[in-house]
């Protein structure tokens, strides 16, 4: 998946780092200090829609269903995540206990056209 540049019109992965200080959440999330929340943006022209290998995501399946039921504008394809990975978090719960857990599907690794 291409990473978005300043003038990338086509579907790409936009890398974005979220610092938990920005959310005001550093008091309860102990580790990490932030995470890479990437997201997908860009155009999906017709020739890229539903390309082999990128139609396997959950999002793609939903969009395909919407299209099949005519609930989606004709010839519209969306730039959606096709691969994600989990993030380990260490946080304080409401009783002051420390919890360490892996949250699935937190970091977008790849994007594609539905």
């Amino acid at each position: 998946t291409p990473t978005c540049g300043p003038a990338t019109p086509l579907c790409c992965r936009r890398d974005h780092y979220i610092d938990f200080r920005e959310l005001g959440w550093r008091d309860w999330i102990l580790q990490p200090e932030g995470y890479q929340l990437n997201y997908c943006s860009g155009e999906c022209p017709l020739h890229l829609a539903g390309s082999p290998g990128i139609a396997a995501s959950f999002h793609s399946a939903v969009f395909s269903l919407l299209k099949a039921n005519n609930r989606w504008p004709a010839s519209t394809s969306c730039c959606v995540p096709t691969a994600r990975r989990p993030l380990s978090l260490l946080y304080l719960d409401r009783n002051g206990n420390v919890v360490k857990t892996d949250v699935p599907d937190m970091v977008v690794e790849a994007c594609g056209c539905s």
Binding site: L23, L30, L37, D93, R94, N97, V98, D102, P104, M106
Partner: protein, 218 residues
């Protein structure tokens, strides 16, 4: 996107203004984390553990990932009530998550004070679940303490299950080990709770029952 009159940027529509996009991404991040942790709102921490105790506890944990299958590791700091009439302490833990049924490993970390020379005999009891009659004590484990300082004592996970109130109470009784193996304890403080040596419980919890995913797929 509806509010701003534009359409979803992921679908090739007009992009949002940088300021609006940043606000949207931050809001998405909040929702994503809360959803991933099964929380409806961020927890308000009214009594955070002391920083030094927290650092000490985290250093004592095994590094690496948590258990496979959406597992969790929880460190719960104890509120300690020392008994003045015997060599015993009551430890109270407040747990938030429904941990009880999926617990598969539990260790109690204690910093034992120098009480007297020789081996110390320690018995750990659990106060019965709240639905049972008051005063029911169950012996969970017995340990011989041969040196002072920090100890990680394994507790049977089966003995900790069945608690639904979220409050777990453990009683520690100690004494020197006599020649015949009997406890001949005298009143003495057992645990060091000052100086950030707060006892804590390390729990490993499996979110899903083993094999549950496989059964669903079948």
């Amino acid at each position: 996107a509806h509010g701003t009159g534009s359409v979803c940027p992921s679908c090739g529509g007009p992009t949002l203004a940088p300021q609006a996009e940043r606000a949207l991404v931050l809001e998405l991040a909040k929702q994503q984390i809360l959803e991933g942790l099964h929380l409806t709102s961020r927890p308000r921490i009214t009594h955070p553990p002391p920083q030094a105790a927290l650092t000490r506890a985290l250093r004592r944990l095994q590094p690496g990932s948590v258990a496979p299958g959406n597992g969790e590791e929880v460190i719960s700091f104890a509120t300690v009530t020392d008994s003045t009439s015997a060599c015993s302490s009551l430890l109270t833990f407040h747990l938030s998550t429904p941990w009880s049924h999926h617990l598969y490993q539990a260790r109690l970390w204690l910093h034992v004070l120098p009480t007297r020379p020789g081996t110390l005999y320690l018995r750990i009891f659990r106060w019965g679940p709240s639905r049972r009659r008051q005063g029911s004590l169950t012996l969970l484990a017995e340990h011989h303490i041969t040196h002072l300082g920090w100890h990680a004592l394994t507790l049977p996970s089966s003995g900790l299950r069945g608690e639904e109130s979220g409050v777990l109470k453990l009683q520690l009784d100690c004494g020197p080990l006599g020649g015949n193996g009997t406890v001949i304890g005298q009143p003495r403080q057992l645990l060091d709770t000052a100086g950030h040596q707060q006892p804590f419980l390390e729990l490993k919890i499996q979110a899903n029952e083993p094999g549950a995913g496989r059964a669903r797929r079948r």
